[in-house]
């Protein structure tokens, strides 16, 4: 139940979600369109005994987030494209050293400074593969202020539970959108985000000895359980190891611990819009969309249904690990799939991978700093449907 409803911006809702989940630390570097998150963190965190640090750049911000988390504070940062690029280095450290943290990327148009700060969604593959090496990736994509709150809470829960970095990937449209948000009772959020803790004699503790779920319990710096975090290949104690068998096992475990839990995570939202009664039966069109584009796609679906074509929207709330089974089921139920996105076509590649040759998959790509409109999506759909 919502304790109260408030009118707020997506970025504010991200901050509220972080606080609700128990965040105690933020480090960041100012960048539009994410700065509201830092501004609010700078007053709200110290008011509850937490810490806001404004670092010299985004590399340092990620470093400080990792240090703070290792010292026991649920920690996060927020940035946009240029800053997210700089964070890739220490995102890899967080993944390898298994330090929980949340990174919010309020996307804007790129590359480089791009069209500052117009909308874009071209950081999808960067969020998956941006840091070098094989690594796990867990990415949520809100499409409303409410989802900014909900998915930030979700991000903290999984970051802490799985000892891994989690990326919240909003876009400027959602970040600056003002909407009603239902906020739960703060008491409900207590200890929502909690990491597995070691038990037993401190001398037996190993920083990287996994529990049954593949996640090693993590003690805080300062605890009697001595922690050796390591961004180099390491053994269960955290000591460096060049053993290929050890290295292979570790990389597999880092990815598997996330993959094993996807069934419990937020994944998608379904929308169904059918033509008026009596319309001749036709194969449905499926839209697969995410972030602010999902809202345009929903409007397009309504317009399409009015034209007599059954329309479905599968909104992806989790981008990585990609919701393969949900996409596959929805795509096979439809006659064809259209993937609108504010880039030259990134998620469409994943949809094609999942659907294969079984159904046609069409891209509806736009990468010029403007949001995709429902009319554009509809026009593209009618073009591929041949209506």
């Amino acid at each position: 139940m919502a304790a109260r409803t408030a009118f707020m911006q997506g970025n504010e809702a991200i901050l509220e979600g972080a606080l609700h989940a128990g965040a105690r630390f933020f480090a960041g570097y100012p960048i539009t369109p994410s700065s509201e998150i830092a501004e609010l963190a700078s007053t709200r965190l110290p008011a509850r005994g937490g810490v806001y640090l404004q670092m010299e750049d985004e590399m340092a911000s990620m470093g400080a987030v990792i240090g703070a988390s290792a010292a026991g504070a649920p920690a996060f940062t927020a940035t946009s494209g240029p800053g997210f690029s700089l964070m890739q280095e220490n995102l890899g450290l967080a993944a390898m050293a298994e330090v929980p943290c949340v990174v919010v990327n309020v996307q804007r148009s790129g590359p480089s400074t791009g069209l500052a700060t117009r909308p874009g969604q071209a950081d999808v593959m960067q969020a998956r593969w941006g840091t070098h090496g094989d690594h796990p990736s867990l990415v949520f994509a809100p499409a409303s202020a409410q989802e900014c709150f909900d998915l930030t809470v979700e991000a903290f829960i999984w970051a802490e539970r799985l000892r891994t970095p989690v990326i919240g990937r909003a876009d400027v449209v959602v970040g600056h959108l003002r909407e009603l948000v239902a906020l739960p009772d703060p008491e409900d959020g207590r200890a929502l985000a909690s990491r597995p803790r070691p038990q037993g004699p401190p001398d037996d503790y190993c920083t990287y000895r996994p529990g049954p779920d593949g996640v090693p319990p993590l003690a805080d710096f300062g605890s009697p359980y001595i922690v050796h975090l390591n961004g180099s290949m390491h053994d269960e104690r955290g000591y460096p190891s060049a053993d290929p068998a050890q290295a292979g096992r570790l990389i597999q475990r880092l990815v598997a611990k996330v993959q094993a839990r996807v069934g419990e995570m937020v994944a998608v939202r379904h929308f169904r819009h059918d033509p008026p009664e009596g319309a001749p039966p036709r194969p449905a069109v499926l839209y697969v969309a995410y972030g602010s584009t999902a809202r345009a796609a929903r409007e397009a679906a309504l317009m399409l249904a009015e034209k007599g074509v059954p329309a479905r929207l599968l909104q992806l709330k989790r981008l990585w690990p990609f919701p393969d089974s949900e996409v596959e089921a929805a795509a096979l139920e439809a006659g064809l799939t259209v993937v609108p996105e504010m880039n030259l076509g990134q998620v469409v590649l994943e949809v094609e991978r999942v659907v294969g040759k079984r159904r046609p998959v069409w891209s509806c790509a736009k990468s010029n700093g403007e949001p995709i409109t429902p009319d554009e999506i509809l026009a593209r759909t009618l073009e591929v449907v041949g209506a």
């Binding site: 110290p46 008011a47 005994g49 470093g63 703070a68 920690a75 300062g222 460096p240």
Partner: protein, 280 residues
């Protein structure tokens, strides 16, 4: 606690080359921790990447082996969240002064209560002896065969100018001095930096005519001058020499002390802010 109690003995022998100064620095650091009676629980070692960035392999306190240049940023996050911890950032000159130079000046300006221990061997040993931001002008390296066209940083003056609470320098020849400077630095509530001139006979020495470890030690012995005496040297006598000992600092409150005031003001509600100071 004895120095040995902090050592991961099963990680022996040390990974570093014959004649390398890093083992001397490591031992001095462990003796300093023992002298201060620091427990393993309350101590956090943060390293970056490079030869001295491997120091955490041998230390039984809490540790994080991080990314190249970012040790001070990571250490800042640790200390900000738990000011009660003793936080040490162990780095080489490439790590601290070159790729991490921006984090160094900001850690000093912020006066975060971290002790930076910099093994300055005047080059990148790990990658084969390339010149770094502390390699002297004219010195040869694997990427400056014709002599280094750039000038090296004076790390102590850099950190001091940026606002560090304590700045000191020793060499690996002056191990007793090093230990006492480390004790002083670790006890300092603000940001402290101890630069240790360290031997790399395998690369820096070999490229610059001092390939013998003992000769490198003599070089440190002859070129290091206690700060009080260095100040009295004529300009021509200062050529090729450098001061050692405590070289500067300021008595500004440490970051955590000031941030505690911010937390108090934030908790008291709107209309409160912290007192402006008179320092830079």
């Amino acid at each position: 606690m004895k120095a040995r109690d902090y050592l991961i003995e099963e990680a022996m022998p040390l990974f570093w080359c014959r004649g390398c100064g890093n083992g001397i620095i490591l031992h001095a650091l462990l003796r300093a921790l023992a002298r201060l009676g620091k427990s393993r629980e309350e101590t956090v070692v943060v390293t970056g990447i490079g030869c001295f960035g491997k120091a955490d392999d041998y230390i039984r306190t809490h540790s994080i082996h991080g990314t190249h240049g970012r040790a001070l940023a990571i250490a800042t996050g640790v200390k900000a969240v738990n000011p009660g911890l003793t936080v040490l950032a162990l780095m080489g000159d490439g790590d601290c002064a070159t790729i991490g130079g921006n984090h160094l000046i900001h850690a000093a300006r912020r006066n975060i209560g971290v002790t930076a221990v910099v093994a300055n061997n005047l080059n990148y040993g790990m990658t084969g002896g390339q010149f770094s931001a502390t390699t002297p002008q004219g010195a040869r390296s694997s990427t400056s065969s014709f002599g280094n066209p750039e000038s090296g940083f004076d790390l102590c003056r850099l950190a001091g100018a940026a606002g560090a609470a304590l700045v000191a320098r020793a060499t690996v020849y002056h191990a007793a001095l090093l230990e006492s400077l480390l004790v002083e630095a670790i006890s300092c509530p603000g940001f402290s930096l101890v630069e240790v001139m360290s031997s790399c006979p395998v690369y820096y020495g070999r490229y610059n005519g001092i390939p013998d470890p003992a000769a490198m030690m003599r070089w440190w012995q002859e070129s290091a001058v206690p700060a009080s005496r260095y100040a009295e040297l004529a300009p021509e006598e200062k050529q090729g020499r450098f001061p050692i000992g405590r070289l500067g600092g300021s008595d500004r409150p440490a970051f955590s002390e000031r941030y505690a005031r911010v937390q108090e003001a934030a908790q008291a509600g709107a209309g409160r802010w912290i007192q402006a100071g008179t320092d830079r």
